[in-house]
């Protein structure tokens, strides 16, 4: 087994390699890694042009994983996502052959998921939850590790189908991507607007190692006090009726502990600290809370409410 120090070195190396291509999005990249380690899916909320596709593509390259992209539109059908049977002719015979859809990859980027119809969204969500796809009367297992990164545009909400709360709960994290700083934007311009070759990245770890790391993540120990703290925090979201209409489910408690363990592993620690819980509380709870009018009246956004709970 790779020691914890080696694991930290590996992740540090991955971060450095990612920094060569993606500039100024360290937090997003860390959250992506957390999602992969937790064997879970991530919802990204960002404005267009913030290197979401590039980040995921680069990550897939470094982790030696198959990458595919689904651009969601209102006319996208479930079969376009999962795949379908087509007639193939060969050797004088005709038959139905299953043509797998873009979902048959290790890392799937579902761009603007809120633009797809609920029917198409459910096909994707079923794959996310069950790690399998059912077409006709046959079920196809998806290759492991399987990771979906769905994105949402916070503007241009007309004609969209926002994910219902029950569906967005299936995403482990909701990551908000902000614009880069001025300094970082200058670096981006220097890298991509000049005649500078994009660095070619080589895979750092193999698929089997990622599966092993996912197993190790669950082995990271956490103290009983911290578990209780997590449960108390999630319970508070259900009780604070003045600011929150609907709170988080126990899935949030599970997710918060897992995400904290992943963060601890990435930092080379053999234990979960309270700081891990505090850091991961925001992306874990953001999409699981429905704020009340009172919170809006006080000009509080979700992050402010989460901060007040802690």
């Amino acid at each position: 087994m790779a020691s914890i120090d080696n694991i930290k070195k590996t992740f540090d190396y991955i971060s450095r390699e990612l920094d060569k291509v993606i500039i100024g999005q360290d937090e997003m990249l860390r959250h992506l890694m957390v999602g992969i380690l937790c064997d879970a899916n991530i919802l990204l909320e960002s404005y267009p042009g913030l290197a979401k596709t590039l980040a995921v593509k680069t990550l897939a390259q470094l982790l030696d994983l198959k990458f595919s992209r689904i651009q969601n539109t209102p006319d996208l059908m479930p079969a376009d996502v999962t795949g379908t049977y087509i007639i193939e002719e060969g050797g004088g015979k005709r038959g139905f052959v299953f043509q797998p859809g873009p979902i048959f990859a290790n890392i799937v980027l579902a761009d603007e998921i809120n633009r797809a119809t609920p029917k198409t969204q459910s096909a994707l969500l079923e794959a996310m939850q069950e790690k399998q796809v059912t077409v006709g009367n046959k079920t196809f297992e998806l290759d492991r590790p399987f990771f979906v990164l769905a994105t949402q545009n916070p503007i241009e909400q007309e004609g969209t189908y926002p994910l219902p709360e029950a569906q967005s709960d299936r995403f482990l994290l909701k990551v908000k991507i902000t614009y880069p700083s001025e300094e970082d934007e200058i670096k981006i311009v220097n890298q991509y607007a000049e005649d500078v070759p994009v660095p070619e990245l080589k895979p750092v770890i193999k698929k089997a190692s990622i599966l092993h790391l996912q197993k190790l993540t669950r082995q990271v120990p956490i103290s009983n006090d911290l578990k209780k703290y997590v449960v108390d925090l999630v319970t508070k979201t259900r009780k604070k009726k003045d600011l929150i209409t609907y709170g988080a489910s126990p899935r949030a408690s599970i997710g918060m502990v897992l995400a904290a363990k992943a963060r601890a592993l990435m930092d080379g620690r053999k234990y979960v600290s309270k700081e891990d819980i505090h850091t991961m509380a925001y992306p874990i709870l953001r999409h699981r809370l429905i704020l009340s009018f009172e919170a809006e009246r006080k000009n509080m956004d979700v992050d402010d409410v989460i901060k007040s709970l802690m």
Binding site: P221, I222, N224
Partner: protein, 261 residues
């Protein structure tokens, strides 16, 4: 895992010993204070054991319940969150937990018992105990009392009760007349109604009750004792000239006293 278990057990033992010692010191202070209060209010000294022992039991219970690994982590920042996590995951078997146990065991080697003892507080407690012992001995030897508990209890008991007392004037009003020359001062009669409180101070007394010896047989010399004096004096020779009627009054008075008893 076994080593971790033994180390945690040893750590908890040390913490328990320190907590017990602290409880003993604080309990002693309360015990000595109770003794002093008992001496000052003239209460039997064994009553002081009640608050002293109750406080000791309560404090010991509180201190034992307060033995937490998080307190050790506060003293040793290197162990922060690791010790509690290692203890809570003692029986889990995987490489990460094994690695954590190894790290914690290595860090625990720097833990010394003296880290949990607050020497300044302990020093103050010892000085307080010494001062209280001195005060107790001083108050006992001086027989110092601020309030007599028994007197207060008695007064509370007698409060509101109508107690009949023999009045000298009643006898006077019975037809005897004002005969203070015969009966003497009223205060002499009243003295018999008060309770006499006598206390022997064992320290300042010259009598040594421990000095018990066998009685010695002694032979006394002739002439050691004065000769017997025989006196025969009649009432007239003694200068007493008491009229017969007054004798009757005296006789009646003493008969009346005897009848009352």
């Amino acid at each position: 895992m076994k080593q971790m278990l033994l180390a945690l057990r040893e750590l908890k033992q040390v913490l328990a010993q320190v907590a017990f010692s602290q409880a003993v010191l604080e309990g002693l202070i309360i015990l000595l204070s109770s003794f002093i209060i008992c001496v000052l209010i003239n209460l039997p000294i064994y009553f002081g054991f009640i608050p002293g022992s109750l406080y000791f039991v309560h404090l010991a219970n509180k201190k034992f319940k307060g033995i937490k690994l998080s307190k050790v982590e506060e003293e040793f920042p290197d162990l922060k969150e690791q010790l509690t996590t290692a203890a809570d995951n003692l029986y889990r078997k995987n490489d990460i937990v094994a690695g954590l146990h190894e790290d914690v065991l290595r860090l625990m080697k720097s833990i010394k018992t003296s880290h949990f003892i607050k020497f300044k507080t302990m020093w103050r407690q010892l000085v307080a105990i010494a001062a209280l012992c001195f005060a107790l001995i001083l108050f006992t030897s001086l027989n110092m009392q601020f309030v007599d508990y028994k007197e207060i209890a008695k007064e509370i008991q007698e409060f509101g009760q109508d107690r009949a007392r023999p009045d000298i004037f009643e006898f006077q009003q019975a037809g005897v007349g004002n005969e203070s020359d015969i009966f003497g001062n009223e205060s002499l009669a009243e003295l018999g109604l008060e309770e006499l409180q006598v206390q022997i101070n064992p320290i300042f007394s010259e009598i040594n009750l421990q000095d018990i010896k066998e009685a010695k047989e002694q032979e006394f010399e002739e002439g050691a004792f004065p000769a017997d004096i025989e006196a025969k004096i009649t009432a007239q020779e003694g200068g007493e000239n008491i009229p017969k009627e007054h004798k009757e009054i005296v006789k009646k008075y003493f008969s009346g006293l005897a009848a009352e008893q």
